[in-house]
């Protein structure tokens, strides 16, 4: 018993931290979101999502997050398959190289994309040099998708790599042995066995993509507003904490839905890496 108490004591700093910086702020979001400026209970801030500009920004955020997630899957799956087939000393080096960008500051990486995508940026300079037409990318939804995919791709690669790496090579061999060609083996064995990784990757890319306001602000200029930007503006520019909190609650709903879906599909937690 005494030992048990000591262990519980060790977790005290985290509990204090969680209470101070997670639970209390969360309760405050709910408080502000469900009250008006006079402190009276209201659903108005939550229902404000129905206003055209708010709804549009949520819709656009959902669409862009979805596109980014799909692109991430399409890029990450073959990559993860190649990584997991690299047995031996190169394997860790290659995985390391793919994780390396994550060690750089998020803002710096996104700023780098700014310079790449600008009208007089690196990409257009190269295109000009090759006598090809300039592309207008910066401040468009495409630029935001570029930024999201670049920033969140590792979060898709890692769970996929993890789950593919765990598939026993003899299970693949068994499918081949039973008459399946490589394509049939992939569709019937590899893909279904990697579902937990796919779900985990989707959550880890979709949720941050949906909520980001930094990527959209830096690569979308101030022209394209995602729901994250709207919320941020309500807090910082308009000082309307109630509306900001109300919209946050709506956003949280979507996050909770995607979390539940991931929990259902990934019962064993096989896809978890972080």
């Amino acid at each position: 018993m005494k030992n048990n108490k000591a262990v519980k004591l060790l977790s005290a700093p985290y509990i204090v931290w969680a209470a101070a910086f997670i639970i209390i702020p969360l309760l405050m979001v709910f408080y502000y979101g469900l009250t008006n400026r006079d402190g009276q209970f209201t659903f108005a801030n939550v229902l404000a999502i129905q206003q055209t500009e708010h709804f549009k920004s949520l819709y656009l955020a959902l669409i862009l997050a979805l596109i980014s997630t799909v692109i991430c899957i399409l890029l990450a799956y073959p990559l993860a398959m190649i990584l997991s087939s690299l047995k031996g000393k190169n394997e860790h080096l290659v995985v390391f190289i793919f994780i390396l960008p994550m060690w750089m500051n998020f803002l710096l990486r996104t700023m780098a994309w700014q310079t790449l995508l600008e009208n007089d940026g690196v990409i257009n300079t190269v295109l000009q040099f090759l006598h090809m037409p300039k592309m207008h990318i910066i401040n468009t939804p495409s630029a935001i998708v570029f930024g999201m995919v670049y920033n969140f791709l590792p979060f898709m690669v890692l769970p996929l790599y993890n789950v593919l790496n765990k598939i026993d090579i003899n299970v693949i061999n068994a499918a081949r042995d039973l008459g399946a060609n490589p394509f049939q083996t992939f569709i019937r064995i590899t893909l279904p066995l990697s579902v937990p990784g796919i779900i985990s990757g989707i959550t880890m890319v979709f949720v941050p993509s949906l909520t980001t306001f930094v990527v959209s602000e830096m690569l979308g200029g101030s022209k394209i507003l995602l729901i994250g930007n709207v919320i941020e503006q309500e807090f910082t520019q308009n000082s309307n904490w109630n509306l900001g909190s109300g919209l946050s609650i709506v956003l949280m709903l979507f996050i909770i839905i995607s979390m539940i879906m991931s929990a259902i599909f990934d019962k064993n937690g096989e896809g978890n890496t972080l």
Binding site: D168, N170, V171, N173, A174, A175, R176, D177, L178, G179, A180, N181, Q184, R188, I189, P192, L193, V195
Partner: protein
């Protein structure tokens, strides 16, 4: 039993600098239970993987039923494999696992349902069709793996240490089950194991391998009773291997004492290795009647017999006997001439691994 179903011709295989198989030649007859037996790293699993199509030999050919299948993809071969750790499809039910090969071949639903029923019955798992592999015990999973392979009616079933992960009792039960299956199906089994008891129990033919070379091919009785070299003698069962001198035909000097034996043709005063199985060493308390005198230094009760170590003329004799001789007791040792197996000494370390043609 006479037709060669599989012919391995001159197979060599290296991984990096490591030579795993060196110019191996082996044929497998139709309808035989052939076991590849040897310690880990002897090349037995690689041989099986070459037959299954999961490895390509560097040199040599695999002939199956008269056709060269050396470069044929595994899914196009008329044989199926039971893998070491079952390798079941965890996202499918037992029935779906068994149906996998048949669905790939686009058999009719009625045919598949029939086959599933038949296979589940064959491996005594009739109630388990709708369960998932993870809810089954190791032995049951192994039976599913076998069922999944045999519904495809392969001409050859390859088994890669299929009982390795099971406990002793279950392993023994499964041995009988495999023999029964083999009889019911009437197909060729190629079985890989490092367990000599398993090999002796089930096989028609045993191929003893070491370091990429075949050491001896023969029936279990031949392999056990007449090992061709010290490696085989040592690997199959316990044995006393004693460096000795062949005085003349039918007389060998073991540890300075002359023993009559039945072997001939080794020449005179030739150094040889003598193999004596521990159950063939006879002990007597009438010390003077023994050819060699010794003292019991260890005794362990093994159930069926006692296992003893007897120190005599500078050699620790391993002895199995149903009678008990307490530690410290002086005993006489006798060996029946028929039970003394004489083998030529290998001339160098390398030669210990030299291939032996049947």
């Amino acid at each position: 039993m006479s037709k060669h179903l599989i012919d391995l011709q001159n197979i060599s295989k290296s991984f990096g600098n490591h030579l795993v198989l060196d110019e191996m030649n082996l044929y497998i007859r139709e309808n035989e239970f052939l076991t590849l037996l040897g310690p880990s790293g002897c090349g037995k699993t690689t041989t099986l993987r070459i037959i299954g199509g999961f490895e390509n030999p560097d040199v040599g050919k695999v002939i199956f039923d008269g056709k060269d299948i050396t470069r044929l993809a595994p899914n196009k071969r008329q044989l199926n494999t039971v893998f070491q750790k079952y390798a079941l499809f965890t996202h499918m039910t037992i029935a779906e696992n068994i149906a996998f090969g048949l669905r790939i071949k686009k058999k009719s639903k009625a045919y598949i349902d029939d086959k599933i029923k038949y296979a589940l019955k064959l491996v005594n798992l009739e109630e388990y069709g709708s369960r998932y592999p993870e809810s089954l015990s190791g032995g049951q999973q192994q039976r599913v793996a076998i069922a999944r392979a045999i519904v495809n009616e392969p001409k050859v079933l390859l088994l890669d240490e299929p009982l390795g992960a099971l406990d002793l009792k279950l392993r023994q039960d499964m041995q009988y089950e495999l023999i029964r299956l083999k009889k019911e199906l009437g197909i060729t089994f190629v079985y890989v194991t490092h367990d000599q008891e398993e090999a002796l129990t089930m096989s028609d033919t045993i191929v003893v391998m070491n370091q990429g070379y075949i050491q001896q091919i023969g029936t279990p009785e031949m392999i056990y009773n007449e090992p061709e070299n010290a490696f085989v003698a040592d690997f199959i069962g316990d044995s006393n291997i004693i460096s000795s001198t062949m005085i003349q035909d039918e007389l060998v000097e073991i540890l300075g004492v002359k023993f009559p034996c039945v072997d001939k043709g080794f020449g005179e005063n030739k150094p040889v290795d003598v193999v004596i199985r521990p159950e063939d060493v006879e002990l007597t308390t009438d010390v003077e009647k023994g050819r060699i005198q010794g003292v019991v230094s260890h005794i362990i009760f093994k159930g069926v017999h006692y296992e003893m170590e007897v120190m005599a003329n500078g050699f620790e004799w391993l002895v199995h006997s149903t009678s008990c001789f307490p530690v410290g007791e002086k005993v006489g040792i006798n060996v029946d001439p028929f039970n003394i197996q004489i083998m030529n000494k290998p001339e160098s370390e390398d030669e210990e691994a030299v291939g032996v043609e049947e």
